[in-house]
């Protein structure tokens, strides 16, 4: 054995070793102390914190979204349904290479840049291990292709979700409206309570009844305390509080009547509103053009949205409640009643109509729409039947504008009708105060001549005109218009907003005049009653879109199509016992009697022959209760 040339001293060796080992033992003891202190710190000092952390890991409170309430028409036809939609979702934490996974998915299902862009946006707002949807409404074939390739894509899954489905598509887009994904803007308006209510829910009513009855339809969120593992898989439910489903709505709307109104309007732009005279219930509510509300439910594509928002026909615009039009001559029955009540005119009042009207001390000439006039002995009946302007100018000149304004107000003009739809516009009926405040100008006599014919400052929505007509048909009982007939089977009582006291004779006279519009040989609205075996009363109207210079003649050929007059017609039927009131607006339709009146006729032909509403209501209540129980 080779030895070192130094002398080996076992004792020195042992001493050195013991010396070093003792120091090492001290080191070991110190480090063990560090470990014990560490465990003491983790397990005793900070026990509560880590206990909470571990429970947070393990127990997840999962919101359980309630089922949204359904929407039926008056006869139980389902307008808004919930259907299972299969969505492709990704748990980001389980995907190693997101880019590669997205590319692979792109080969299996249709995926456009918009989907991916929206997905990446949603990805930023997620909670850890939350599945983030990438594509909605997978087809059967797409689901199959994903399933087959599932093993290649950990973290990718197909999830079922209930989404809104509007079976009748564009027919009820402007009344029922639609739901859409909760947006950042929705979120920023949320109260604390809203944040709680919408846990687990991805959709919110955006327009129409879906929006105005949002809280009713939504229901109450439920909760589940679930134990999950690290991969987010639910192992068991520890505790569950069931969600309360949203409440179902039944509407006054009638699908058949709605279809008739929509067909009658055809491809023209415009609106039709039909109201049940005895309740204020809205029977038909059409705004055209319309759109498919299903496009919005899971998020509309950029291209689809651009097509809708850029269209000159503005299909997203709800003409029936948001469109404010000069009501034109449709105001004449109301004005006539006002004149009668104010004692300005009577059944015997007759005027001479040379085809124009001149205010004293005013060179301006106000032309009647018939250049040669309506004759020398024009009374109220004829003035309504033939829509004689001079008769009403003569009356307006003698009538204080504030009186006229009050009368219009009784019929709901110039203020919101209070219908249960969002975004309603109020229209306008001017007064002295209004003109001073809004325009800073005094009231001129000429303003009254415009106002009495529903021109100038006057604006009204088609809904307001329908309410006005229904109020006339009711002889002064002004109901609040209502879309929803019953909530969860409980019938909503009609609400009278105002009762106008007027002399029965005056009502008779106005009815007679409106009947003459439809039934007299020289009436402007004969087409509203053609071939019907009951009596219809109505009034036509024409609203100027562009002002016509003094002395110029209106030449429809020369005007751009979109600058032509709007055609209007309001009517109710049957005259002896009115049940339905209708307002029709056809944008750029020119002749109220020619274009709008036939639309009203179709609605009457559909509605009036049906059994009386009272009987029907009783049947309906029974039917809808049956549907709820089933």
């Amino acid at each position: 054995m080779p030895h070192d040339h130094h002398f080996k001293d076992p004792h020195t060796e042992q001493r050195l070793f013991r010396n070093r080992m003792l120091v090492a033992i001290i080191g070991v003891i110190v480090l063990l102390g560090v470990l014990v202190a560490r465990f003491y710190n983790l397990q005793v000092v900070n026990y509560d914190d880590y206990r909470t952390q571990s429970d947070d890991n393990r127990i997840q409170v999962r919101p359980v979204a309630p089922t949204r309430g359904l929407i039926y028409d008056r006869s139980g036809i389902l307008l808004a349904d919930n259907r299972a939609s299969y969505n492709l979702s990704i748990v980001r934490e389980r995907v190693k290479d997101l880019g590669a996974t997205l590319e692979l998915i792109g080969h299996l299902v249709r995926l456009d840049d918009g989907d991916v862009a929206k997905f990446r946006k949603r990805l930023k707002r997620r909670r850890p291990f939350e599945p983030v949807p990438l594509r909605f409404r997978l087809s059967e074939e797409e689901i199959a292709r994903i399933s087959v390739n599932q093993f290649r894509m950990p973290g990718v899954s197909v999830e079922a979700e209930l989404v809104r489905y509007y079976a009748l598509g564009d027919l009820f887009a402007h009344s029922v409206g639609y739901v859409g994904r909760i947006s950042d803007r929705d979120l920023s308006n949320f109260t604390k309570e809203d944040v709680r209510l919408y846990r687990g829910t991805r959709s919110i009513g955006k327009v129409g009844l879906e929006r105005s009855y949002e809280k009713t339809l939504l229901g109450e969120v439920g909760y589940e305390n679930v134990e999950i593992n690290a991969r987010g898989r639910v192992l068991r439910v520890l505790e569950r509080q069931d969600p309360k489903p949203g409440v179902d709505l039944s509407l006054h709307l009638d699908t058949q009547l709605q279809q008739v109104a929509s067909d009658a309007l055809g491809d023209r732009r415009g609106a039709v509103v039909a109201i049940d005279v005895n309740t204020g219930g809205v029977l038909a509510f059409v705004s055209k053009p319309s759109f498919d509300p299903n496009l919005f439910v899971t998020g509309i594509s950029f291209a689809d949205y651009r097509a809708l928002s850029d269209s000159l026909d503005v299909p997203l615009f709800n003409r029936a409640v948001q469109g404010q039009y000069p009501p034109g001559s449709t105001l004449k029955p109301l004005m006539g009643l006002g004149g009668l009540e104010a004692g300005l005119i009577s059944r015997e009042t007759k005027i001479k109509d040379p085809g124009f009207y001149k205010l004293p001390n005013d060179p301006r000439i106000y032309r009647d729409h018939i250049r040669w006039g309506h004759g020398n002995k024009v009374d109220l009946i004829q003035a309504l039947a033939q829509s004689c302007d001079v008769y009403f100018w003569d009356m307006a000149h003698r009538w204080d504008i504030d009186g006229m304004h009050d009368m219009a107000s009784h019929f709901g003009l110039g203020s919101k009708t209070g219908i249960d739809l969002p975004m309603e516009r109020a229209g306008l009926f001017p007064s002295r105060d209004w003109k001073r405040g809004a325009r800073g100008m005094p009231w001129f006599p000429g303003d009254s001549l415009n106002a009495v014919l529903g021109q100038g400052f006057v604006l009204a929505t088609p809904l307001q005109l329908a309410v006005m007509t229904a109020t006339i048909a009711n002889r002064g009982t002004h109901y609040r218009p209502q879309m929803v007939k019953s909530v969860n089977g409980v019938v909503q009582p009609p609400e009278v907003l105002h009762n106008l006291e007027a002399h029965p004779n005056n009502w008779d006279l106005v009815f007679e005049g409106m009947e003459a519009v439809v039934n007299r040989i020289d009436g402007t609205g004969k087409r509203a009653g053609e071939g019907l075996n009951f009596r219809v009363a109505g009034k036509s109207g024409t609203a100027q879109v562009v002002g016509i210079a003094q002395g110029a003649r209106y030449d429809s050929e020369a005007l751009q199509e979109r600058h032509r007059d709007h055609a209007l017609f309001v009517a109710f039927a049957p005259v002896d016992k009115p049940r339905i009131a209708v307002a029709v607006l056809v944008e750029n339709g020119e002749g109220g009697g020619k274009v709008a009146a036939p639309v009203a006729r179709e609605l009457f032909a559909e509605w009036v022959p049906r059994p009386d509403t009272q009987v029907e209501t009783a049947q309906e209540t029974a039917l809808s209760e049956g549907a709820d129980n089933g």
């Binding site: 050195l16 070793f17 070093r20 470990l35 465990f39 003491y40």
Partner: protein, 381 residues
Amino acid sequence: MASRDFSHRLSDAHGSLRKPVSLARRLHIDVPLLVLLLVLASVGLGMLYSASGGDMSYVRRQSIFMCLAFLGMLIVSQVPLDFYRRWSPWAYLGGCALLVGVLLFGTGAKGAQRWLEIAGFRFQPSEVMKLGVPMAVAAFLHQRAQPPSLVTVIGALAIVAVPAALIVRQPDLGTSILIAASGLFALYLAGLSWKMIGAAAMGVLVAAWPIWQWGLRDYQRQRILTLLNPDDDRFGAGWNIFNSKAAIGSGGMYGKGYLQGTQSQLDFLPESHTDFIIAVLAEEWGMRGVLLLLLLYVLVIARGIYISFMAQHLFGRLLAGSITLTFFVYVFVNIGMVTGLLPVVGVPLPVISYGGTSLITLMAGFGILMAVGTERRRVHF
């Protein structure tokens, strides 16, 4: 000198030939150490059953590993110490050759080459060097006068540096540091002067910045950063530590009960049956369980130190001391990592963690310890 007298008395008392040689001693079995290791192994199997989610197949396989490892330990302990001393230079050189082979022909995963495949068998040469390096250093120092001269120190450092450098290249920084430590422990125990130790410590401090800047790989830097700010990246690199701390902390003083640990049973705890197994123990048995386990380790270490004190030769003394201290370092590094005191390095908890290779090496180390402890007494002056 008092200390000299003390050592004389000690050596006289225990070096006595009058004592009858027991059966265990003749079989080269250190009974206290064997009992402690068997207890540890049982604890390990019990924890493994829980950590694997009640999967008996893990327990069965680990039991087989343990049988093999204990058998290996008893075989290793039969070999005379002189044999190891004489053959250690060759074993060391062979080990270095294998490490070179790993770099040239090795296989592995995740960008690291750690295994060598020979005739269908896969093994890690770095495991061999866990014992090969301290043995070589001890044998080298055994021949030389103590305290080691500067030349001797440089020689010993070279013995340590070559395999350490080769293993760093695999790359496997953790194993490299631990192997280097085992060699350096032998050198330290041989009586390395405090001056040199101080100088080395200064050197490490000075070198720290360049090593951080150029010596470490990105993932290694990341692990150290994660240690410093574990909450920065809860769902990324900090996930392991966040969850192991939550597991340990939520265990409290008394634990959640065997098989009741939510962190480990619900898979929140990564690597719960291998490197992070003490978190399972801490969660389910609480701090009292941890203290009992630490007590078992302390007893093993105490026995190892006792054996090293009683060793007949410098070689056995240094080797036993080095193996014992390295064992403690494994325990400390593993627990320090799991509790978030040290960066995440892949060091299993000795005897408890699942895995065959490291267990066999570890038990071979204890076999050498037993060989040292049961060496025939010889009178020497």
